[in-house]
């Protein structure tokens, strides 16, 4: 029973990691840029929700605050692409990496100036409520995280498989030149992918904040999430979630059964093992181009 309890809370954590990793992969797949500010997008999304929802701030209804935060982060993502990333066209990968890392640092300090560096908590209707199932205590927050992640994944799947713009995003990521030839406005599609990643980051941020406190350095979670993305196979959306879940599950288990400090290094240990055994990640989509 104890183990099951641990697994559920680990699963919920894993979902949050998975969602951040999803943002990494979305952008990488579509635009071949790696957004190292993804974790900071998440932090920003969480703080925005807090500003909209908390009673000492704007005090809007919780659901409205969530929607607003997701929309605002979508706009932020769009603008980051349109104003910054697009200008880096033709520059090397590493230049974009440095740009997004520094963007993350800037966002962290801007958030520090606005919201302070003290941990704050989001007034969420989920906090502290739980259902008891046999000997099992299921927190509303954990359950919500898992359900929202499942719904979001299904929604994204349908979006990419069925909608025209989702298909266009796939097309632009698989063959950018051909997408141009077909009249797909590739630049706008790229900006929309960033907007999508921003929205997903905001959702991850809300879910994370629903479980605990947030402060500007929460964004550093992005590093762990990037490990999740690599474990899953950078470039695979299901892989990102899988990587997140693996890390989420391994952390509490290792601190429970091995030693407290070990959980800190476990994600990266798994990352190393995966890179040695399956360098392309667990669920990679590597296929040689036919000539």
């Amino acid at each position: 029973m104890d183990l099951l309890q641990l697994l559920i809370s680990g699963l919920a954590n894993g979902c949050v990691y998975g969602l951040i990793a999803l943002g990494f992969v979305l952008i990488y797949k579509a635009t071949e840029a790696v957004n190292f500010a993804q974790g900071d997008f998440m932090m920003l999304g969480a703080f925005l929700t807090l500003t909209f929802a908390n009673s000492n701030e704007l005090g809007l209804p919780f659901w409205l605050a969530c929607i607003l935060a997701v929309l605002v982060m979508g706009v932020v993502g769009y603008l980051v692409e349109a104003l910054l990333i697009r200008r880096m066209f033709g520059e090397s990968q590493i230049a974009i990496v440095i740009l997004t890392i520094s963007l993350g640092i800037v966002l962290r300090f801007v958030a520090g100036v606005i919201w302070g560096h003290e941990p704050q908590s989001l007034e969420s209707p989920l906090a502290g409520r739980e259902v008891r199932l046999g000997g099992l205590v299921l927190g509303f927050d954990d359950m919500t995280i898992i359900i929202v992640t499942i719904l979001l994944t299904a929604g994204l799947y349908l979006f990419f498989a069925k909608t025209k713009i989702g298909l266009a995003m796939q097309a632009a990521s698989q063959n950018q030149l051909a997408a141009y030839y077909m009249g797909i406005p590739v630049k706008r599609v790229h900006a929309l992918v960033w907007a999508l990643a921003g929205g997903v980051a905001a959702i991850a941020g809300i879910l994370f904040a629903a479980k605990g406190t947030i402060d500007p350095s929460t964004g550093l979670l992005g590093i762990k999430a990037s490990a999740a993305a690599i474990i899953g196979g950078f470039g695979s959306l299901p892989g990102a979630l899988l990587g997140g879940l693996i890390i989420g599950l391994v952390e509490p288990l290792s601190s429970r059964y091995v030693a407290a400090g070990v959980s800190q290094i476990m994600p990266y240990l798994i990352l190393l093992i995966v890179l040695i055994v399956r360098p392309h990640g667990l669920l990679s989509q590597v296929r040689a181009k036919k000539v």
């Binding site: 025209k164 298909l167 266009a168 796939q170 097309a171 698989q174 063959n175 030149l177 051909a178 997408a179 141009y180 030839y181 077909m182 009249g183 797909i184 406005p185 989509q285 296929r287 181009k289 036919k290 000539v291």
Partner: protein
Amino acid sequence: MGEPLLKIENLESYYGPIMAIRGVSLEVHEGQIVTVLGANGAGKTTLMKTISGVMDPEKGTVKLSGEEIQGRDPDHSVRKGVVQVPEGREIFPLMSVEDNLKMGAFTRTDRAGIAADIDMVYRYFPILKERSTQDAGTLSGGQQQMLAIGRGLMARPRVMLLDEPSLGLSPLLTKEIFAIIKRLNAEQKVTMLVVEQNAKIALEAAHYGYVMELGRIVMGGPAEKLRASKDIQEFYLGQQGESQRGQRRWKNRKTWR
């Protein structure tokens, strides 16, 4: 014959400091198949890219029914009706055949028309219907070329730019592809500008032809005239001019040099 559908005047395009096409002018009339012949590096692909808007010209104009379309983003050109079927197929490898076709119709919004055109493409390329749910990357080279042409058709182009449709295909498949190109031209009234290295088959299919060398158009005329031309025969169709003494004339010069 009236106003040409596609009229290109004095087009110049650069790759950085290198001038790839040097003042090209040509015309494509409605309903025609026009071919541009030329060796590697003659600037044929650059010409196509400049017409479809993937590259911007330094000078010159591309006019579609009298309206200038050069120097804009490719989605503008596609909306206007100029669609390029790129060299080397360039399909979307991890998407199904049908989704590839749908992407060809990205600029259109008429659902019924799109569905009808998918059926039309399947009629011309029955093999694509058989493979419609398969990932496009798993198709053979010839099937991928068919998919690329079908995808181009999905935009309902007024002018279709075909860049080396024979690239990497067997002679038999090349023949098959060109037969379909001719049928599409005759039955669907698709105007085509075809760039080819395989001069023989291109001149058989085309109504009109141009010869491009080192970024310039050096010759142009109706296809049957080009087929009969000595220079074309010798340099592009691979027939050797024999002198009276039965030897190859080594110092032969092209008339346009």
